[in-house]
Structures are given as C-alpha cells and as structure tokens.
Amino acid sequence: MTRYDDEILMRRIDGELSAEAGERIDAEALNDPELAARLERMRALRAAAREAFAVQPDPRDQALARLIAGAEPVVSPWTRFARALGEAFAPRRAALWGGLAAATFIGGLMIGPLLDGRNDGFVLAPGGEIADAGLIRVLDRRLASEGADGDGRAVVLTFRDGDGRWCRTFRAGDAGVAGLACRENDAWSIRALAPSAAGSGEIRTAGADTPAAVLAAVDTSLAGDVLDGAAEAEARDAGWR
C-alpha cells in the first residue's frame, strides 16, 4: 500500500494528475478505507467551496453591463490623447495648428486643455513632463538604429537645441502619436506632439514619416546637426548630460 501525501490526493481531486495516476489512486482507495476517506474529504471540500460561493444573479451587474457596453471600442492609455490630437488636427482647425506648429507648442500649455484638464498620470505631468514610464525608458535608452520596441515606440532623431538641451523625436506606434521631447531638469518634456500616420493600432517597425508639426518643432529647436548613431549612443551612455 502506498502512502500518498495530501498534494497527490489534491491533484487527483483537481484533475491535475494523468489518467493512469488518478486511476491507480482510485483503485487503491477501494481497498483502503483511510485513503478513501481522505479523498472524500477533499472532494467534499471542493464541492462545498463551490456551493459556498455559488454564482448568483445580481441586479448591479446590469449597471456594469451598461458601463461595458458604453465603453469605447479601443482604449489605450494614449488613445484619448491621440483622439484629442486628431480632433485638434482636423482640417477646420488647421489654421490654429499651423500657427502653433510653426512656433513650437509647449506640452503643458496645449496638451492640458486637450485632455480636459484630466491628466491620467501616465502620460504627462503638469508642465508637459513625460510621466509615462514606458516612453521614458524609450527616450532614455533606445537608439534610432534599434527601431521600435514591442509597443511600437521608437526614437528617430537626436540633437541639442539652442540652449544645449538634448532633444529626441519619438514615435509611439501604439498610440498613433509622434513628438519631440527635450531634456529639462533631469526629465523629458514634451515640445511637440502630433498624430502619426503610422499608428493605427498596429505595431510598425518600418520607418514612418515624422509628422510635419513635429518636424517644424525640430527645425525651430535644432542647433547644429542631428546626431549620427555613434554620437547618439555616446550621449545616451553619458546619461544625457
């Protein structure tokens, strides 16, 4: 007679043993009342647990179902942001954005209103500082030559602005936006942001055009040239000092 430990019996009851191993235990239980009793206790406990927490209809589920039914079909942390941008870039507002793009707009100033004053915390902190950990990591570490990460986020251009600050343009393919961020007070601040044609939810690894508004912001900020791959790696390894 084999002495089975609780774990084996538990696996038997939970259907986590092979058919043969389960049948072996059952066969032994036929001639071993103690083993049979232990198995029965476990089986009874499993049944009792399910009974104690039976699925019950609850009228409050109706309200939750309505909440779910009314939800937007696709909601990513960036989606509302991207939608707001898309709205802002709609042709009827072209004049407004034309002016802003030429002058470079500052994140906190323009993006705050776009988000209706509701900042989700993971996108932008007040003042336009990037608070999205994934994007910060991309801006801190990623090289243009590495292309996009698993979320479709990539860095495109790296350069210093007129005040010597490091700036990088990025694409966030998952969000369908692209932008320019510059290093200020040891954080990345948004200088420009625009919907990117590349981002339709699908992850793109191929190079996509940087939107005109972002390029305009680059032109305004750029002092000297954009970095080549080697200089970009060097600046990264120096911690963007």
Partner: protein
C-alpha cells in the same frame, strides 16, 4: 459591443463571485468588481487575443485587491470588529437567503485564510482554474501555488471538522 465587451459582460457573475471570496463585505466586493471592470476597460489594448479573458481579468482584480490591502494598511484604516460583524450580518441576510449553515461556515473559513492561500483556493476550488492558470494569475511558480493550495486546504479541513461541518 465587440468580443471583448461581450466577454466581459458574460464574465460579470464570475468576477462578482471571485470578489466575494476576496472581500467578505458585500459593499467591498461590489467596489472591487466595479474597479476591476473599469480597469479592464482602460487596459483593454493590453489584452491579447488568444489569451483567456477570465484569467486576465482575475489578475487585474487580484492586483487591485492587493493594492487596496496595502493602502488600507498604510493609512491605518481600521474597521472595528463590531462594524464588520454588523455589515456581515446585513450582507448575509441579503445575499445568503436559503444558504445552508454549512455553506456559511465554509465561506467564513475561506475568508479567514491568509490572503495567499485564499487566492489559491478561490481560483482553483471555486473558479475551477487549472494549477497553471491559477499560478499565472497569482504571478507565482507552479510549486508555490501548489503548496499554498495544500496548506489552505489542510487549514480548511481542520477548521471545518473542528466545527463538525462535513462540507
């Protein structure tokens, strides 16, 4: 509604059941379901087609439950035993009509388990997830899940037989 939304609606009764295992007070369980639904909707772009929606949503609920547990510790929020008992009696009257006394004892015994064991018991015994699925929801290796499950079960059998409940 798309497949994700339909799936989530169909999952509501099970989400509520899981919440009722994690939270003994009905109002707390409702909060947990509500928050889980909201977070699942907000995070749906992270849901990969082909993965199980139940496991994915249970994972969200469990994280919220743990975070809440931590913050209530942090803020020193204390529910006096009296309040707790009163609320539970009220809940029981509402939700447990017709439920056998034995089942109530089983419910109390499961609620009294340490969280780690309670979560393992909830996923495997109540929800019927496989060990592999439950381990994934809990974010622990399979061996850890198994030992929590063994200890939780032993504690339950001990508690219930001491009370003369056969299950």
């Amino acid at each position: 509604m798309d497949d994700f939304q339909t799936g989530l609606v169909e999952l509501l009764p099970r989400l509520r059941r899981f919440a009722r295992v994690l939270r003994s007070r009905d109002a707390d369980a409702q909060d947990l379901v509500q928050q889980t639904v909201e977070r699942a909707l907000a995070a749906r772009s992270k849901f990969r087609v082909g993965t199980r929606l139940d496991s994915w949503t249970f994972t969200i609920m469990r994280r919220i439950a743990i975070d809440e547990g931590r913050s209530s510790l942090r803020w020193g929020r204390v529910v006096s035993p009296e309040d707790d008992a009163t609320a539970r009696v009220a809940d029981a009257a509402l939700a447990d009509e017709g439920l056998r006394a034995d089942a109530l004892a089983v419910r109390d015994a499961i609620h009294a388990l340490p969280d780690d064991q309670k979560h393992a018991v909830a996923l495997v015994l109540v929800e019927g997830l496989s060990y592999a699925e439950a381990a994934e929801v809990l974010g622990v290796p399979a061996g850890t899940l198994t030992s929590r499950l063994v200890r939780g079960r032993q504690a339950l059998i001990q508690t219930l037989s001491a009370q003369g409940v056969t299950g």
